[in-house]
Symmetry: C2
Amino acid sequence: VAPDPVIPSNDAALVDGLSGSTLPVADRGLQYGDGLFETIAVLDGRPCLWDRHLARLREGCERLGLPAPDPDVLVAEAQSLAAGCARAVLKVIVTRGDGGRGYRPPIPAQPRRILQLGQWPAYPDAWRTEGVRVRWCATRLGHQPRLAGLKHLNRLEQVLARAEWDDAAVPEGLMLDLDGDVVSGTQSNLFVLRRGTVITPPLDRCGIAGVARAVALETLRTAGLAVRVARLARDEVSGADALFLTSALIGCWPVRELDGEPFDPRALPPRLAAGIVAGVFGP
Amino acid sequence: VAPDPVIPSNDAALVDGLSGSTLPVADRGLQYGDGLFETIAVLDGRPCLWDRHLARLREGCERLGLPAPDPDVLVAEAQSLAAGCARAVLKVIVTRGDGGRGYRPPIPAQPRRILQLGQWPAYPDAWRTEGVRVRWCATRLGHQPRLAGLKHLNRLEQVLARAEWDDAAVPEGLMLDLDGDVVSGTQSNLFVLRRGTVITPPLDRCGIAGVARAVALETLRTAGLAVRVARLARDEVSGADALFLTSALIGCWPVRELDGEPFDPRALPPRLAAGIVAGVFGP
C-alpha cells in the first residue's frame, strides 16, 4: 500500500516554461519557503478544479505581495504536461524567484513557476466507501493569521506531524492548534456531522483552505444540509456522529475509526459523499 | 547604501560537495521548507563561530529528525569555499533531500548540503559606534514551540516583516509575537538594558537562537553584568535605557532611534559592545 502521493519525480517538470528538473539554489522558495503551491488532480489529461486552484494561487500571491503568474501561460503549461495522462498529480509551485537582500524581497520580484507531474497516489478505492482509519497528531499548528488559509511553502508543521506514524493503513492524522481547537488533517480538511449539522473549522488562524473543502461546503449546502464553519473542540470531534475528510486528491473519505473509536462511514449519506467526489473530480 | 547581505549568488556554491548552482526541484527544502540553514561570517578565509554554528545545526537536525551532516565533510567544504576570502558570507543549508510521500519524510532521509559563498554586506562602520535606526514591524511572530529557536527554512514571517519598509537608513525592524511580547529583530536578536540589568527575550515559543546572542550573553556575564532571559513587553523596550542588536553578520549594533524615539548608543559601555564584536568575529 502506498497511500500518499509521491513527490513528483523530476521526469516531467517545467521550470519557467522550460523542460528541466533543477532550479537555482538562490531561489527564495528554497532559501525561505517564499512561495506557494497547488496540488492538482489530473484525470484524462484534465487538471481538475483548475479555476479554483488558480484563484487560490492568485489570492496567495496577493497576500504575499508576489506578482501572480499569467493564467494563460500557466494553463498552457499545465495542459502540455497533463496531456495524455489518464491519472496523475500536477504540482504547481510559484516562488518569489532569486534575489533580494536577506529576507527583504527584491522589488520587482521575478517569480519562478515550477510545474511537476507525478504519479497518482495508490489509495484503495474502498477508502471512499468503507472509510479510513485516522489518528490524532501530537504536533500542533501554531497561529499565524497573516499566512492562515494559504498553501504556502512553509510546511514544517505538517512534515513533523506526518512523521509521527508509520502505518500504511492509517492514511491521515488530525491536528489541533496550540489552543487545543481542531483544525484539519495533515493533508486534508475535516468535516464533522453533529445532530444533523455539518461543521468544519475556520481557517483564519492556521490551516489550509482546501479547494475540495469549498466544493464540499457548496455541495452540502445545495443538498439542503445545515452547514457551519465553527471552531471545534477535540471532544466535539470524538463524540460526533460522523467525520469525513476532503482534499483535491482524495475527494472525500469518511472516517471509520479515530484512534480506536469507531465511526459509521455511512452516517454521511453515501450520495452526498459521492456528490463531493463528483464535484472534486468531475468536469 | 546596501545594508543587508545579498543572497549568495550562484558563483561559488557546492551542492553535496560538487561545484554547482542548482538543485533538484524535488528537494524537500523547496517543496516544504524541510531543512535548516546557517549564515556564517567569513573573515580572512576563516568561518567565524564555526563550532557554534555547527552545534546549532546539529541540534536543529535532531529536532527535525534529520541525519546531521558529517562535521568533517562540512568543515572541509566550508574551508574550500572560504579559502582566500578576506570578507564574505557563507550560507550553509541542509535539507531533507528528495523523496518521501507527500509531507511524510523518507526513511532513511538522504539530506542534501548546499554551501554558498556570497558578498559581505556593506554595513557602514558607524553603525557599530553611532548606532542604528530601527522600527517596529506590524507582522507578528506566531508561536510554535516545536520549531522555536531553530534556524529552519520556514521564514515567511521574516520575509513579510522585512517587506514592510524600504529605507536603507533603517536596517532592522523589531518584531512582537501574537501575544504582544517582544521577540527579536527580523534578522538579529534584541537586548535591552534597564536599570543596570541586560534582558533578552526567551526563544521558547518563536524566534531564532542566534549564535551571536549566545556570545553576547557570555560576554556580558563574564564582564559582571546582571543578565536575564525574560519576556519583554513593548513598553519595556520603548522605555529602556539602551537597546542593542546582535547577529553573526552584524556583531553588535547599539540602537540610536526606535520609530523616532532616541536612545543613547553609548549607554551600553562601548568596551562591552566591542567585546561582543570581538567574540563574534575574533579567532
